[in-house]
Symmetry: C2
DNA sequence: CGCGTAGTTGATGAAAATCAAATGTGGTGG
DNA sequence: CCACCACATTTGATTTTCATCAACTACGCG
């Protein structure tokens, strides 16, 4: 029952019921490597391309005039960006690790939506997942406490990483504390303190700055779900 | 540049490039009237139907175990609910006014997605709008102050109502303060105080509990966008 | 081996939540 | 039509949580 981190989560393009279509789709895209900290596009840019992240991680975000930033999601292997957007991008996208991404010219992509049977339907399913994740995130941003937010975040990351690696309970945080804070609607200090609190309660261990071990997954899930939070049954 | 209130905003079903298809779609649905305060479905229910709101307003929400509630959006005339969902509904839907709604059995609806040309594509566009609105809401929930939230909310309502009525600057709030608070991630007291602050600054007038007049739309937009907020240039 | 950036920790402050009345308001029945 | 009731809203006092400000520490890299 773990929600994905909001993003166009998918393995769409390399997926296909029939190999011909898959190959056709593949041929339409161009793969490119980006260094860490590069901009794929900015909010307001003409939405010229659809991107698929092949490897690495990307953040999507918007900023308010005075610099406050909200990260909408982190994208990683297999995720799509920009499918939804017609006209102009409504957020910016930057790499937070080295990234290999394939991109598709919008015109070609749109033609595929019309021509390839089932393609639009499949994109619709992806958008639905995305939407569900976005709503999960609204619940988090609007109603969860700092600890609950961080707990939820760790579990979501863990769930995503469980796909790849073996099901060990070590979670890697490829993004900075600033990114985490801007994703959870907190400050870096509050994120740090929430992690410490979880550590003190024995729920997690901090292996290093960017690695966390989940010691008590059940308890972490309780906290994330907002079951009771404070653990002081004195 | 006014974001819609997150919802499956659409005039989809009654819309059609060709009248035959429209009629066919129409025939598939059943219209029903709901009193105020009724439940269309609950989080976790089998997602048996797709709903189109014909008239009235509906709230979509999720609740945490201890009762904290987050409203994901308010639906009104022409909006769709449940398109995205396969399996089980991930939120609850309740009427906040008397509502006339048409509903479609999922199986039939899904068949249409496959059979009616362009239908999936059109739903995809709706989902995209929805997604954009959800991201706008994440920015609001994560990074805006109480006054900014309320200002944004009033403008979104005004924009939606501008479609129907003439472009007068009176906004009707069909939902309670509790609903507004649960939508903006605030408490009712804070919503009330934010409205008062806007009134004191001369940006709005409170005509009655449920009616607001926008006196200074430009300033309200500045506040909503987070340009500076406090107005105390001594 | 520092140097710079990222992260942690602590002290203080501010915004919003909570608690507690008081005030409106709409609807119902007398 | 009016009085009353239940409930929604406003307003005020206080508390809590998180943000801000300020060192301090750790880590990675040239």
């Amino acid at each position: 029952v773990q929600p994905a981190v909001p993003a166009f989560s998918s393995r769409l393009l390399s997926y296909g019921h029939d190999p011909d279509t898959s190959r056709r789709i593949e041929r339409l895209g161009t793969t490119r490597i980006y260094a860490r900290g590069r901009t794929l596009f900015n909010e307001g840019d003409d939405a010229a391309n659809v991107y698929e992240i092949v490897r690495g991680m990307v953040r999507l975000y918007r900023v308010l005039p005075d610099g406050r930033r909200q990260i909408m999601g982190f994208l990683s292997d297999g995720d799509l960006v920009g499918v939804a957007v017609a006209g102009r991008y409504v957020y910016s996208a930057e790499t937070i690790t080295a990234v290999s991404a394939r991109f598709y010219a919008r015109a070609k992509f749109d033609r595929m939506v019309d021509e390839v049977p089932g393609f639009a339907r499949r994109l619709l399913m992806l958008a639905s997942d995305e939407l569900r994740a976005a709503q999960e995130q609204m619940l988090l941003l609007g109603r969860k406490s700092a600890s609950e937010k961080v707990a939820t975040f760790l579990l979501a990351l863990a769930a995503r990483q469980a796909d790849d690696r073996s099901a060990c309970d070590e979670v890697v945080l490829p993004m900075t504390r600033t990114d985490i804070a801007d994703y959870l609607g907190l400050t870096i200090e509050t994120v740090s303190r929430a992690l410490r609190r979880l550590k003190c309660e024995g729920v997690i261990a901090l292996l290093s700055t960017s690695r966390v071990e989940i010691l008590d997954a059940g308890r972490l899930e309780e906290i994330a779900a907002g079951e009771q939070e404070a653990s002081d049954p004195a």
